[in-house]
Amino acid sequence: MSQVKLTRRQFFQVTGAGLGASSMTVMGLAHAADPVFAKPNKLEKTTETRSTCPYCSVSCGVLMYSRKDASGKLKVMHVEGDPDNPVNKGTLCPKGAGILDMIESPNRLQFPEVREPGTNEWKRISWDEALTRITKRMKADRDQNFVAKNAAGVTVNRWNTFGMLVSSASNNEAGYLSAKVLRSMGVVALDTQARI
């Protein structure tokens, strides 16, 4: 296999299916005679993963190359357009070409925080504290304000005093799960970016 010369397109076809678990070194291509691989390549020892640019609804196919950092976290270190995607055919626009910097933005949130009423700063809290405090708030609110029947005696089973906006950058699966959860609580005030 290491002796085989592949074009770039063939290379991706070989490394193809599903999660791109193959790396160039596994393929044995890092030192092949092909000039593409003649010098040390920054994508060596990376994992290739198929993904979708999260910005506009062209939803361009992207290839992400990642490897573990010193702390053992898998990090993306290069992104490019997916040449197999029938819509973008490998291209990315000025927005999409910058997504690595969005993934790696210094403004990424790292841990749960709370800003207590009237104060002027964030305070780091644990996930357990955050979720427990939020759900206690929600339960107290729901128990106090749940409307089981309207004035006419019709069963309405709704909770009007709480609401949620759901992201258009969420996966379908996360969005669906949110719809399911919110309706089970009786939430009627829900909406999404799609409105705008």
Binding site: P94, S105, F111, N120, Q193
Partner: protein
């Protein structure tokens, strides 16, 4: 999109209006270039600004913001007056022959049934004449009450002279565009329309699109390769989140959610299970009970049975609208306690920042779930002139939870062309970030456990919600995807008793759904995306499977519904099933079934002589030229933006009630803060830049480097009038607030002659704010009005009034 990105290459004419694909959707725009290069297609751009789409257009015509219906109404008049319509298509595939209630009427800008106090219409006269349970028709189209004749009468007022006066488009340029559009009325020519927020973000947004839908029906362009009405949407999964129906009025799959009027399950179901309005039509929504009952099986399993009315009472019933404008109005009135904002930046994204900020300040608790540090999460924090608030006076408890982003999750996104595509996790999220579904599961399971332990208000729907995920605190995307797609709960058999799908197996599609509880399916339109064959959204074969290489990659991902790539594709063939253009065959009758290059949008064995019409989701079976479903009228009419630079609506100069959309909801306190043309004489519009995506990419270094700072764009004439040079710092004010920015003086905007005066525009890119790596700025929505489209409630971001001066 009724069609899809690659299909744009099949167009003979591409009209971009209400959008700017070259900058907002660059990689999709390549298909426009392909159509030009390989088909010799023409590109026409109609826009207030000479955009980069316009820069490569074959023809450009300027238009004043908020005048699109006047322009398009003029196109309809041109097509009818010059007999440039696709007669066979209009006769068979639209409701042009349907007879309307003789009491229906239109006078002085108002349709019959207007209630000024309620700002809404009683639609009792916007009805079909009925006979034996079906709508009456006149196939000769001569009856004065038929839709065709009413349409002619309605749009006859949109003369080229009046259109030019309302829109500011010079008459010769308007007529040139009409002529180019009219050329696609022949059977084998198609036009595609690409639009975006430039049409939706108006108080008449839905009617902008409706007017174009009428044009596409008149030209016979719906269902055709290279045709359709194509919304170029926002985020990579804005289509998918719309389809999962994360909004109040619908449940997943666009199933209208219960309201107070639907007291019982029977009432609810019957009100949503329509009868065909013409004989022999598919009237596909008659399957509503199968879709709804299967959804309730997915959510409530054994608790959702025929005996329990499919757990109907577990669902909340709406007492009022709960769209985003109403939600923030309620919040502003102090009627809400808690709120979660997930991956959304409402402080920037919803109109009138001042009002949104005041509303958030009235909450007891706010939870922000986001990968990034957004303005909304710090609405309470003072950023000087950019966010001038007093934190000590804001008593909202704010939680901020770090979410992973797309790169750090498995799951699907649905593109604008309805293609659902799986993506794989390629990185770990930073710090302690968690995925949206893990966070929602965390909140849900905790809440459920509290109800289990402590009891509380109506706990049953929470306790009984199906939650059989392998990892209940972090459900796997594949498991949820299978739940959405649907499975059999009992053996599903054919008429001969042969098992088609065994109990427990994934369904092949929504055709297998039943209404007796034998199937579970979280979203009927997504049914089949994960079938017995596996995860079809992960398919990656880009091969063009179509006969004439029209760009149908049917084995790439999975398109809803049923992997169909072009909606209404039965309309691409004539009444006998012969394609209007055989060189771009989408569908054709093969003698015993429908076939061709797409999944038929038709019962596969419906013989042409059965006259089953192509628009299967309507009760009529045909496309609606007359549409009583709309809030402000069954035909589109031009109304001015709520903040108009004119003294009147030139279409209805003597009726102030018809100046702006008579059916748009306006809240107390908001009407008072509409600006007037004396203090705010310029027509402002917001827009987007090629280097940025909404309020998101400003957190990306690369994008912040290439487009680092807030600016506003004005014409040379306006600059001269106000003594402004390019690069000057300016102050742009509306009655609601102001922003500071650099001035960019260009030739892309020009003064326009409208209704006897000259109108100047101010263009305002939306991307900048007080968080991010770009220079801090006031949010652009500090300027925009709190009023929205009467149907969709999309705020009017695209047409309002400002003043501009040197700062």
């Amino acid at each position: 999109m009724t069609n899809h990105w690659v299909d744009i290459k099949n167009a003979d004419l591409v009209l971009i209006m209400g959008g700017n694909a070259a900058e907002a959707h660059p990689c999709g725009f390549k298909w426009v270039i392909k159509a030009k290069a390989e088909r010799g297609a023409k590109l026409v751009v109609v826009d207030p600004r000479f955009t980069r789409s316009a820069a490569v257009a074959d023809y450009y015509a300027p238009i004043r913001v908020g005048a699109d219906i006047a322009f398009l109404g003029g196109v309809i008049n041109y097509l009818l007056t010059n007999d440039k319509i696709h007669h066979e298509y209009v006769k068979h595939y639209t409701n042009s022959a349907f007879l309307i209630n003789p009491d229906y009427g239109f006078k002085d800008g108002l349709f019959t049934g207007y209630d000024e106090a309620k700002r809404s219409y009683a639609k009792g006269t916007w009805t079909y004449q009925m006979e034996d349970g079906f709508a009456k028709v006149d196939p000769t189209l001569q009856d004065p009450n038929c839709v065709f004749q009413l349409m002619k009468k309605h749009f006859a007022r949109y003369t080229p002279e009046l259109v030019s006066s309302v829109t500011g488009t010079p008459q010769d340029q308007f007529l040139k565009v009409c002529e180019m559009i009219a050329a696609t009325s022949v059977a084998n020519k198609t036009m595609t329309i690409l639009y975006a927020l430039g049409w939706t973000q108006h108080s008449v947004g839905s009617e902008n699109i409706r007017t174009m839908a009428i044009i596409q029906l008149l030209l016979g362009n719906m269902g055709m390769a290279g045709g359709g009405v194509n919304a170029l949407r926002g985020h990579a999964n804005v289509q998918g989140i719309t389809d999962q129906c994360l909004y109040s009025e619908v449940l997943p799959g666009y199933l209208s959610s219960p309201a107070e009027a639907d007291a019982t399950y029977e009432q609810y179901r019957n009100a949503r299970t329509p009868k065909a309005l013409r004989p022999g039509q598919m009237n596909f929504p008659q399957n509503f009970p199968k879709w709804f009952n299967s959804l309730m099986k997915a959510w409530y399993g054994d608790h959702a049975t025929t005996e329990t009315n499919f757990a109907y009472d577990y669902l909340p019933k709406r007492d009022a609208p709960y769209d985003i404008m109403q939600i923030f109005e309620n919040m502003h009135q102090g009627k809400m306690n808690g709120f979660i904002s997930s991956g959304f930046n409402p402080l920037a994204a919803i109109s009138n920042k001042h009002k949104i900020s005041a509303a958030l300040s009235k909450l007891k608790y706010l939870v922000v779930i986001d990968p990034l540090s957004t303005e909304t999460s710090e609405f309470w924090k003072n950023y000087g002139e950019f966010n001038n608030v007093d934190a000590s006076k804001i008593q909202t408890e704010v939680f901020r939870l770090p979410a992973t982003c797309f790169a750090e999750q498995d799951g699907t996104f649905t593109n604008s062309g309805r293609v659902i595509q799986w993506h794989w996790k390629g990185a770990d999220g930073p710090g302690e970030s968690k995925s949206d579904q893990e966070i929602m599961a965390g909140l849900f399971t905790r809440l459920r456990d509290m109800y289990k332990k402590e009891g509380g208000a109506y706990a049953e729907p929470i306790l009984n919600l199906t939650w059989n995920y392998t990892n209940p605190s972090n459900p796997d995307a594949a498991e949820i995807n299978r739940e959405i797609s649907g499975k059999a709960l009992v053996d599903l058999k054919d008429a001969a008793g042969k098992v088609l799908v065994a109990a427990g197996e994934q369904l092949a599609g929504f055709a297998q759904l039943v209404d007796n509880g034998g199937t579970a399916c979280g979203n009927w339109i997504y049914s089949g995306m994960w079938s017995k064959a596996g995860n079809l959204t992960a398919r990656r074969d880009p091969t063009d499977t179509s006969e004439h290489k029209i760009g149908q990659s049917l084995n790439w991902g999975f398109a809803w519904p049923a992997n169909r790539r072009i909606l209404y594709n039965r309309a691409s063939a004539d009444i006998n099933g012969k394609p209007w253009d055989e060189s771009r065959t989408v569908l054709k009758w093969l003698g015993d079934r429908w076939g061709g290059s797409d999944i038929p949008d038709m019962r596969p064995n419906a013989k042409p002589e059965e006259n089953v019409m192509p628009f299967i989701m309507t009760q009529e079976g045909v496309g609606r030229i007359f549409a009583p479903q709309m809030a402000e009228g069954p035909f589109p009419e031009h109304y001015e933006p709520f903040e108009t630079p004119l003294a009147r609506n030139p279409m209805h100069p003597n009726n102030p009630k018809a100046t702006s959309n008579p059916a748009s909801r306006v809240y107390k306190g908001d009407m008072e803060v509409f600006g007037n043309r004396k203090d705010y004489p310029f027509a402002a519009t917001t827009y987007r830049l090629v280097e940025h995506f909404h309020y998101w990419s400003k957190h990306s270094d690369l994008n912040a480097i290439v487009q680092p700072e807030m600016f506003v764009e004005i014409s040379r004439e306006l600059a001269k009038m106000r003594g402004i040079s390019s690069g000057d710092r300016v102050k742009v004010s509306s009655i609601r607030g102001h922003v500071h920015a650099k001035a960019m003086v260009t030739m892309r905007l020009k003064g326009m002659k409208v209704d006897g005066q000259t109108i100047y525009h101010v263009g305002i890119p939306i991307h900048f704010g007080f968080k991010g790596l770009t220079k801090p700025a006031q949010l652009a929505n500090s300027l925009t009005p709190y009023v929205a489209d009467a149907n969709s409630q999309t705020p009017e971001f695209k047409a309002f009034l400002v003043n501009i001066e040197k700062a």
